[in-house]
Subunit: 286 residues, 2 copies
């Protein structure tokens, strides 16, 4: 765990946050901080320390990518409005070199995107070898908003869970480590965050009237989220369930999940694909 005092985590986030088939998100305490015994101040400190570790590991991944390693890491961020997806990108991904990040945000599909299979726009945005991909929303919208609003017939969205599992399996087989993060805030916490957007002129741009309309559909969304955890949590592409009322916690948790994913690649600096002594000689003469 690098420079971090180990005792702040009583259990690794990969374990305590992994989606659990025996529990329901209805029972999730969104203010909890599973596995972490520190408070906000320690959390913020940890974000800086561990953000640096993440940055170092990302540079290793990037270096290997530049040397032909096809492997990549893809962070998939899902969560209701205000759950903190944007802040996650800013404050966690913000620690790493922008050159190594392939970021994509998936909004309402464009008319052109709608004419394609739902995975078409996803495929186009996949990270290249050596890159840390970040999806702010993803193909899961096609079984979340699409299901809740019945944008497609039931038969269609029902078939997508299997399609997604298949798609992710192929992605993993081709060298991408997928880290799927579902962030959950409570209905009350969401209300407070929306209220803030209405109270502060520097936040108006983040507010969308439809966010309030969607609140009426909260139970349906919970059900749809439960379904993706039940049906698309796989060993090759696991889901992590993040209590997100405390932003500082969700950020250090995801930082740890990414560090774990990168460490499991067991990366080392690429060896020289040239004759070092010969190049030193050539350089000296140049």
């Amino acid at each position: 765990m690098g420079k971090t005092p180990k005792n702040l985590w009583t259990a690794p986030p990969t374990k305590v946050l992994r989606a659990d088939p025996d529990s329901s998100i209805a029972d999730l305490d969104t203010r909890s901080t599973p596995g972490f015994t520190g408070k906000k101040a320690e959390g913020k400190e940890q974000l800086e320390t561990r953000g640096q570790v993440l940055s170092d590991l990302q540079e290793l991944l990037y270096a290997n990518g530049r040397s032909g390693d096809p492997r990549s890491v893809l962070l998939v961020l899902q969560g209701m409005d205000t759950s903190g997806k944007g802040g996650m990108v800013r404050h966690v991904i913000g620690h790493v070199d922008p050159q190594g990040v392939d970021h994509a945000a998936f909004g309402v599909p464009t008319p052109n995107e709608k004419r394609h299979h739902f995975l078409w726009r996803i495929n186009k945005a996949l990270p290249r070898g050596g890159q840390l991909g970040v999806f702010d929303r993803s193909h899961y919208e096609d079984v979340l908003v699409a299901r809740v609003h019945e944008l497609v017939p039931k038969k269609v969205w029902k078939g997508r869970y299997k399609e997604i599992n298949q798609f992710e399996k192929e992605l993993v087989d081709s060298g991408t480590t997928i880290v799927k993060v579902a962030m959950f805030v409570s209905l009350d916490e969401q209300k407070e965050r929306l209220q803030e957007r209405l109270d502060r002129p520097d936040k108006y741009w983040k507010y969308n009237p439809s966010d309030v309309s969607e609140r009426a559909l909260w139970p349906e969304y919970q059900k749809a989220y439960q379904a993706i955890l039940d049906r698309t949590d796989t060993d090759h592409a696991p889901w992590y369930v993040i209590p997100a009322d405390r932003k500082w916690y969700s950020r250090i948790a995801v930082t740890e999940l990414l560090i774990d994913a990168l460490e499991r690649l067991e990366l080392d600096w690429p060896s020289a694909d040239f004759d070092i002594d010969e190049e030193k000689r050539r350089l000296a003469e140049s």
Copy 2:
């Protein structure tokens, strides 16, 4: 100038670094720090303080983009190998929210890119409204390496200066502020930096034997760089000449150039495009 003590800059970087038709890059002191009276320590401190200002301005740009403002800023980075283009992205652009950055690196054109006009791949990578675009190398390679290595007939590359000016004019007219930065290290400084890549196993991946071969063509590259400054420095898309032997200086200089570009957009938080009181009522009831 925000929190920064004003007296460290005796003159604004936009003035002292602007390409000067009456001077030649052959006379540039690449170890100089034009306009800045501080040393390395003050420079590094300044990078943090001003990086935060840059980040705040970028958020404003992003917010406006989300609200439909088509304007964007494009940083074009050019420079010989080891001049610090990658470090510029990491340490300067690294201060801003990754969501707001459209980064593109242009290497040797792929076979497919070669089949297209040289501006084809450039057009595809232009920043969207609200984004800070960053080009690590750019369309200028097509009058630099293409000229030095005679990759295309003289008649072709000669015509490109005019094409580039035209292209950039259209880009500016459509709302993109272009900041073109040419970074210059000395031949000796480059040697030291290449030597470091050969001495350190964690830097091997950055080394390419062709970098040494290119050193023999240094005078030709200088001539080609002089030509882009002479022919493509325009009021709508100015060139800035950055002495880059001192990395800390080139980074604070480019930070200031970007801050200036963003400040000139005179951005404010977008106004609400909804009825605030009505939304507060709806939220309270939700």
